[in-house]
Amino acid sequence: MVAPRGPLRRRPPVVLVLGALVAVVVAVLPLVYLVDRAGSLGWSAAVGELAQRRTVALLWRSVVLAGTVTVLASVIGVAAAWLVVRSDVPGRRLWSVLVVLPLAMPSYAAAYAWLSWRPAMAPFPGTVLVLTLVAYPYVYLPVAAALRRLDPAQEEVARSLGQHPARVAVTLTLRQVRPAVASGALLVALYALSDFGAPALFRYEVFTFVIYGAYNAGFDPTRAAVLGLALVFVAALVVVAEAWVRGRPAYARIGSGAPRRQYPVALRGGRPIAVAFLVAVFALGIGFPMWRFLYWTREALDRTVPWGEVADALGHTLWWSLLAAAATLVLAIPVGVLVARYRSRLTAGLERSTYVAHALPGIVVAIALVYVGVTVLRPVYQEVPLLILAYVVLFLSLAIGTVRTGVEQTPVAQEEVARSLGRRPGQVLARVTLPQAAPALAGGAALVFVTAMKELPATLLLRPTGLDTLATRLWTFTSESNYAAGAPYVVALVCFAAIPTALLSRFVVDAGARLEEHRD
């Protein structure tokens, strides 16, 4: 890794700026709607709505849930990443794929599996369990990638200075991956704040659940907008906290030491505990839910499964998710490149503003886009393009992070050489920077693809009339507690989502190491 040296190229290419502006406009679109809507109520009334005892209690409950899930998921994610990347735990290559698979499991599907086993499960522990187990890969992925990039010589020096390996892991290794932990924890916190399916199924009253109620049952879009704004405010606080925790990025490799092979840390007597930990995480996150679904699917096979409907829903799911991944990537590239190469207060602000949408519950984004559809984009209302737009709004921040990491891995010196060989900035981007960031770009696309496959609330509201995805079909059956009928849809969803998820660990985690080998 070469530290991105800061040549002050004051004017980024116009194309990039325009692209980034489009991305930001798209990302803050729902916010504009929320403010407009809440404002129509009058500010004093909006504040009154927020100050209600019930609303404050609700807000507190969401914050506690998000906080608990973030802490637990960070601990699991960091521990799993360290074991898989830096220790000699048996089967590291296999584990590197298995530990990210829970990403393929929708939160509502996992909740549904647990409830089908113990219908009386308590709401708070149930929601925390499910959200933690499906969200920890958001921490695992960046941390594992960062661990791969660390210079092993530093750990060796610390060992030779008389430090115990465990102390080295805590004082040196973990401190260096702190920015990666922070960015992963940010995603988990925003995910936990905005998740709708799991709390809804466990009947745990959090913000998203109540917003859904306000919109759907009472059809009170103004109250929904005010509550949504409160959620955005909390999310903004989380984003600021992340910037604070991340600190200054003083973790670049110093000097020109060639990166060398990392030797795994011997766990010795700790190996059985390490294996038990990974097995437990896998069993609870994926194993148990899949066992329940396969059990219900077998039950369903005794009756007739409408395979044609499953295939239709699968087709829509795959096609729309693919479109979402492509569109998101196209908009994420300008923002990611600007942030990585033309770092300034302004570009950092651009990046962070796209996180706002990630914190918005899918249902709020969907409501906002329904409004946009009805008023401005009438021709695409309840058509595929509007649904794709919703996905882009929701998942843009996921892709921007990976694009940025990928671009930062190309040494600036290469771009400068390309410029001196007579290439314009745009050509340099297309021929030097982006091709090398390709693994990271593919990783970002895979992440968006998987997340779009699982997306429920926005799809429920914006899908073309009469067409279903696996997620929306499943939702129909869960609301009727018809586990047997829903199970084949989950099995199809998880199996197909598992493929890009498995690729994800290769792209995101190995990309850094692979690029470095070229420089040996």
């Binding site: 040549p7 002050l8 020109s256 040494p411 010196a413 290469q414 400068e416 050489v417 390309a418 410029r419 001196s420 060989l421 007579g422 290439r423 314009r424 021929r431 030097v432 091709p435 090398q436 390709a438 690029l515 080998e517 070229h518 420089r519 040996d520």
Partner: protein
């Protein structure tokens, strides 16, 4: 003026209040290799980056072949300067083959031929299809050079191009690269902090100290007649002794001689020198023999280096020992007393 390959006039650059370049004046003749020699962190790389167009100067002008590229109106962007760059570790594009790397800056017409020609120039014919990571460090550096030369630039800039190579390979790659530059008839500016590198390969050396080019001369002249003691110490090891010049005929050293504790020495410069002066002697100028020749000196320390050795000598009239560089076959014993003479002319500074 217009036929200068590069002309920097008063180039100044500060980063966050710290002045790195403080009025750089530098002229480079076409077809020559110029080394910019300076300690680490003295702004050598910054100067190269300004010439290449990756940074802009705060003040002053940069002209390439008479065309002002920085300092008059908008700076010419790097891709329109016709300046080739070879960075520290080559910075080959790892996702492209060697051929595609070399052809990166070429138009489609005639690309294949020119790539083959350039690879032949650097002695790597037939490696077009290889991937950069299959090459050794030295080969990668030669590919980087071929890539920079391919579009026939007006100027090639090399930024510490050999520092990433290990010592054994370094001298060899250095010689090869400079041979290639000369055969290609290229004008090159090479940045280095290695005195030996600068003195051995360049036609001219510019010494960058304190943000200024304090001396710009050919290597022999720079080494023998540095403009200041600071430059003298920077380009090589220096023995500095106080002396007295006497212009009178019939003085102790005859006309123009400098009287020092090491004997009466002959100044290299024209002089005239009068009164107290400071004399620069290079360690290899101190010749040791048996007592009776020159001034007596006692061996107080020695460092064996293989082909030669450094001997520290205590001499009457000097507070500190002086250091001589001698062939390692003639190493005196510690504590022995030897006779010491100074061979050749010495640089003399007033005061």
């Amino acid at each position: 003026m217009t036929d200068r390959a590069l002309a920097c006039t008063g180039v100044t650059k500060a980063f966050g209040g710290r002045t790195v370049l403080d009025g750089i004046d530098l002229e480079v003749e076409p077809g020559t290799i110029t080394a910019i020699l300076g300690p680490s962190g003295e702004g050598k790389t910054t100067l190269l980056r300004i010439v290449a167009g990756f940074e802009t100067a705060d003040a002053g002008t940069v002209a390439i072949r008479g065309q002002v590229v920085d300092g008059a109106g908008r700076p010419v962007p790097p891709h329109r300067r016709r300046v080739g760059v070879v960075p520290q570790e080559g910075a080959l594009f790892p996702h492209l083959s060697v051929g595609a790397n070399v052809g990166f800056g070429l138009a489609r017409a005639g690309r294949v031929e020119r790539v083959a020609e350039c690879l032949e120039l650097v002695g790597l014919s037939g490696t077009e299809r290889a991937r950069p990571d299959e090459l050794s460090g030295g080969m990668q550096q030669r590919v980087a050079l071929a890539r920079a030369l391919a579009p026939r630039p007006d100027l090639v800039l090399l930024d510490e191009p050999f520092s990433a190579l290990d010592a054994g390979l370094r001298a060899q790659v250095r010689a090869e690269v400079c041979e290639v530059l000369r055969r290609a008839g290229a004008t090159a500016v090479l940045v280095t902090h290695d005195q030996q590198e600068a003195l051995s390969v360049a036609d001219f050396v510019g010494v960058l100290l304190g943000g200024r080019v304090v001396q710009h001369a050919d290597p022999v002249r720079l080494y023998r007649e540095p403009v200041s003691l600071e430059v003298a110490r920077f380009v090589g090891e220096a023995v500095v002794v106080a002396g007295r010049a006497d212009a009178r005929a019939g003085g102790p050293g005859g006309p123009g001689g400098i009287d020092t504790p090491l004997g009466v020495l002959v100044p290299a410069g024209p002089g005239p020198y009068v009164g107290p002066v400071t004399v620069l002697v290079r360690p290899e100028q101190l010749v040791l023999a048996s007592t009776g020749t020159g001034v007596p000196a006692r061996v107080v320390g020695r460092t064996f280096l293989g082909p030669d050795a450094l001997v520290d000598l205590a001499v009457d009239g000097l507070a500190n020992p002086v250091r001589a560089r001698v062939g390692s076959w003639a190493l005196p014993e510690p504590g022995a007393t030897v006779g010491c003479t100074v061979a050749g002319p010495v640089a003399v500074f007033p005061g």
